[in-house]
Symmetry: C2
Subunit: 119 residues, 2 copies
C-alpha cells in the first residue's frame, strides 16, 4: 500500500494561486547520492545481483571456475561483472595458484540483506 496523498485534503488549485511550495531540503548530498547510486547501479543488474547473492551465501571464498558454470554467459563476461562488483566494494578477490577466489565483503552482504525485502 502507498501513502495517501495529502492532495486529497486540499482544494483544487487555480491557475491564479501558484503551485509553488517551499521544498524540504534533500537529505543526501550530491556527493553521497553519487556514491550510493554507483553501488546501486553495480547491484542493479540481474546477473551481478545473482552473483552477489551466490557469493554472500557461501561460507568460504569461491573459485571462478565454480562460479562461471552457474551462469549462461561466457568467461570474459563473468570476469567483467566480477570486476564491476569489486570496483563497487561489494565483493573481494584473492589469487591462489592458478585459481581466483571471490567472496562478498561485509558491505556487500549487508547491502544485499538490506535490499532483499524488496525482491
Amino acid at each position: 500500500m502507498t501513502a495517501i496523498p495529502v492532495l486529497d485534503r486540499l482544494p483544487p488549485r487555480r491557475k491564479s494561486e501558484p503551485c509553488c511550495a517551499s521544498l524540504a531540503a534533500p537529505a543526501l548530498s550530491a556527493q553521497k547520492s553519487d556514491l550510493l547510486a554507483n553501488r546501486l547501479k553495480a547491484a542493479g543488474d540481474p546477473t551481478r545481483l545473482r552473483m552477489l547473492d551466490l557469493l554472500a551465501q557461501q561460507p568460504e571464498p569461491i573459485c571462478v571456475c565454480d562460479l562461471t558454470p552457474q551462469f549462461p554467459q561466457n568467461q570474459p563476461t563473468i570476469s567483467h561483472h566480477l570486476k564491476l562488483l569489486r570496483d563497487a566494494g561489494l565483493i573481494e578477490t584473492e589469487k591462489r595458484g592458478i585459481w581466483s577466489y571471490y567472496w562478498a565483503t561485509d558491505e556487500g552482504k549487508s547491502l544485499l540483506s538490506a535490499v532483499k525485502p524488496f525482491a
Copy 2:
C-alpha cells in the same frame, strides 16, 4: 572492514587437487532477482536517486514545476526520470488541474532508508 577470507587458513592448492567446491544455493530465485535488480537500477542513477530522496523528504506531494528547477536537466528529461521511478513503484503521481504532483510511495521511502547507510 571486510570479511577475512577463510582462504588464509587453507594450504595452497595444487592443480592435481581440483578447486571445485559444493556451492550453497542462491537465496534469490531468478525471478525475484530480476525484480529486485530492476528496482535497484531505477534507483541506481544519481539524478533519479536525488529525485527519490527529495520526494521522500516532503510532507506533501510536490508539483513538477517545483521539482524541475532543482535539477540541471531540461523538462523532458525530468519527465522521463519520473516515469522510470514510477514504473519501478518508487513514486506515485496524480494530476490536479494543470499541475502534476508526485510523492514517494511507502515502497520508495523504505527502500531509500534501507539503502541510505551505504551512502
